[in-house]
């Protein structure tokens, strides 16, 4: 790799370290460490939520899918953007308010226990185990992506690349906690945004403009210009339904809990949605122009079969000078790291708040819990790194169920907990179990209706069972109802 590109890469990594060190000094207890003391501004909350959400999928996989399938791939981005909007519109304010009212809950398992005054601790335990298990694989899968990028960019051995990537993330997350993660995600979000705007515009200019690009794509295959090519109703509904998953992703909705005031939500929503929609369009058009540029119709050498996800990287190499290419490549690393660090922190909070404080030492001091959280980051990151040692391990395939799993387990239960007065602890418990089991069972058979994305039946079943079990169980106590009403009236 060009030394200049390496220099920009290192500059970027040093920047991340610096942010970690700055926020180390501002973190004093577990609430600071896992929720930034609820003092996140709207802009940082918006971009950090977006960057945590979008992994390398945005910069590598989505342009790659567009490169292969053309315009018929836009259903997934549409579904995701709609889901993110609904999440900001309906969940953000209410979750921020309710978690503050419900004994200042700082994690999702903590909120579920406090919301229902669950003395059995079952809600806390089941949700925390689910978070720890799935985020271990999720984080591990992200580390594989980071290591592959380092390996390809610097020519390192896979294991060296894996440890370097893990070390960078561990250091700033370990030191600075939530504030470091949010601020690094904020800058990483800006970097990703700029990269996804600059690359397709520059590539389209190189092709001679919009009309020339579309004509060239049409010459490669006219079907690439049609949004319905090869799309069935079940396929389109499945892709759109990915948006439902947003209601249950702990690493994204914790940003709502951390925002400094719910009055910041409208601003955050506007910034977050503008960032997301423009970034998605950037990724879509990177792949779209790639069809024209890299398939023989344009000036680029054709991309080898199976290498379609390198379309963004190839554009950075052929269209930009090494200084800019370095930053554009760093944007891929930013996308990977900004997702891993948030997942790592949510897992660490499950360990510190939900297991250590919840079961072992209920009266532990703030400083003690903060250090347990830090050690949690280290332990989970090490487990994830060891899991990533074999990138072809079938265990990592579990990740494909993580989005649907989180969406179906937490999505309907959290929404009902926030908005339905009659919701009860057994309703939440059985709703989570039903949502999770439906996702697993639905994914096993193939063909017909089972081609529908498992999140759809999982979400519906989780919600239905939560409602039925709530209605069949004893109504909530007066204390729980009184708190719900205070949240509704937004009393001080």
């Amino acid at each position: 790799m060009d030394p200049v590109t390496v220099a920009t890469f290192i500059f970027y990594l040093v920047g991340m370290f610096t942010i970690g060190i700055i926020f180390y000094k501002l973190t004093h207890n577990l609430s600071d460490y896992v929720l930034g003391g609820r003092r996140l501004g709207g802009g940082v909350a918006a971009l950090s939520a977006g960057a945590s959400d979008m992994s390398s999928w945005l910069i590598l996989a989505l342009p790659g899918a567009m490169f292969i399938g053309g315009m018929s791939e836009i259903w997934l981005p549409i579904g995701l953007a709609a889901g993110a909007y609904l999440n900001w519109q309906f969940m953000a304010r209410r979750l921020r308010r309710y978690t503050a009212y419900a004994n200042d809950s700082i994690t999702i398992p903590d909120f579920l226990e406090n919301r229902f005054r669950d003395r059995t601790k079952l809600l806390r335990m089941i949700s925390a185990v689910f978070i720890l298990l799935f985020f271990a694989f999720y984080t591990s899968s992200g580390l594989v992506g980071g290591a592959t990028l380092f390996q390809g960019s610097f020519g390192w051995e896979y294991t060296t690349a894996l440890w370097v990537g893990a070390a960078v993330i561990i250091v700033y997350t370990f030191l600075g906690g939530f504030l470091a993660v949010s601020w690094t995600d904020f800058f990483q979000g800006i970097l990703m945004f700029l990269a996804l705007i600059v690359v397709p515009i520059r590539a389209m200019m190189e092709m001679g403009g919009w009309n020339e690009t579309v004509q060239a794509v049409g010459e490669v295959d006219p079907a690439h210009l049609d949004v319905f090519t090869g799309a069935s109703a079940i396929g389109i509904i499945s892709l759109l339904a990915w948006g439902l998953g947003y209601f249950g992703q702990p690493h994204i909705i914790t940003r709502f809990m951390a925002i400094k005031s719910e009055d910041e939500v409208p601003k955050a929503r506007l910034i977050g949605m503008t960032w997301m929609v423009l970034s998605l369009f950037g990724a879509i058009f990177t792949g779209f122009v790639g069809i024209a540029y890299f398939t023989g119709a344009g000036p680029g050498n054709p991309i080898a079969e199976g290498d379609h996800e390198t379309v963004f990287i190839l554009f950075t190499q052929v269209l930009f000078d090494p200084w800019i290419a370095g930053f554009l490549l760093a944007a891929i690393l930013a996308a990977i790291m900004s997702t891993i660090d948030s997942q790592l922190l949510v897992s660490s909070s499950a360990l510190a708040e939900d297991f250590y404080k919840g079961f072992l030492r209920p009266h532990a001091t703030g400083t003690e819990l903060m250090w347990v959280g830090r050690i949690g980051v280290l332990v989970i990151a090490l487990i994830a790194t060891f899991l990533a040692y074999n990138p072809d391990s079938t265990v990592l395939e579990l990740v494909q169920y993580a989005w649907a799993g989180f969406g179906a387990v937490f999505g309907p239960v959290i929404l009902l907990s926030l908005f339905w007065r009659r919701m009860t602890m057994p309703g939440a418990l059985f709703g989570m179990i039903a949502g999770g089991l439906t996702v697993i069972l639905w994914a096993l058979p193939e063909g017909g209706i089972f081609d529908l994305y498992e999140l759809v039946p999982g979400f519906i079943m989780g919600g239905l069972i939560a409602i039925v079990a709530s209605l069949l169980s004893r109504p909530p106590s007066d204390e729980v109802i009184a708190e719900f009403e205070r949240v509704e009236r937004r009393e001080g």
């Binding site: 579309v214 210009l225 049609d226 009055d263």
Partner: protein, 63 residues
């Protein structure tokens, strides 16, 4: 009849153009419709709710 064809037949009745064949800037009208309406609409909605909810908060004196 495929469901999406049904949607387009309905639209064609209203706007009186063949949305799967008529092209605007080289892409079919149908592709533009799906590409340009849903996602930018979310930015517009965010802008509207930003203005409306900002006014509501001020009216309540909560800021």
């Amino acid at each position: 009849m495929r469901w999406n064809v049904g949607i387009f037949l309905a639209i064609e009745q209203v706007v009186n153009i063949d949305v799967r064949r008529v092209k605007m800037y080289e892409l079919t009208f149908a592709t533009w419709m799906w590409l340009l309406i849903p996602m930018p609409l979310l930015i517009v909605l965010s802008l509207i709710t930003f203005v409306v909810e900002g006014k509501t908060s001020k009216a309540k004196g909560e800021k």
